[in-house]
Amino acid sequence: EDQVTQSPEALRLQEGESSSLNCSYTVSGLRGLFWYRQDPGKGPEFLFTLYSAGEEKEKERLKATLTKKESFLHITAPKPEDSATYLCAVPGHSGYALNFGKGTSLLVTP
């Protein structure tokens, strides 16, 4: 049973066209929700951790928000260098290893 579901699977944006990526989770007693960026052939790069509903974090053109059932990664005025796969992850029912979603592949065109 998938604990993390991400949508859409793929997203194509024009440079400057803002949008949001969604991550819904089913784990109860959330012990953190993590966002990563992954470039082709590379390891995931840590972006944000959110722990409680209502929490928000920002980094450059990215802002992550959290509710009781989902998280959003908002991308404001994206640039081509923001093109990557964005991964969402949560710790499992026991332990602290992260379980990843399938990711959203973002392509930003000039």
Binding site: G32, K42, G43, T49, Y96, F100
Partner: protein, 112 residues
Amino acid sequence: EPEVTQTPSHQVTQMGQEVILRCVPISNHLYFYWYRQILGQKVEFLVSFYNNEISEKSEIFDDQFSVERPDGSNFTLKIRSTKLEDSAMYFCASSEDTGELFFGEGSRLTVL
């Protein structure tokens, strides 16, 4: 900036051969992990290691896999008898505590 380093970056092996993938975690980190990513699929958890023992493992991590921390800096993943379906990117990660994981660049394993 400290980083997780992995070797080799790419290894090609014959089916049935043993493979050892090596990782040097970030020096003050206490938790170590191996993940794998089959081409086009999601990042999958294999095993976590803390205080010189396995703390958690997935169904993927069967008897053909083992992990070891042979000294104070290295963390290894051994696959005893490789199968075609073991072809994947293998990522090592480490964390200071139970928070965010920091990943290496990966080792690409190709089994022929």
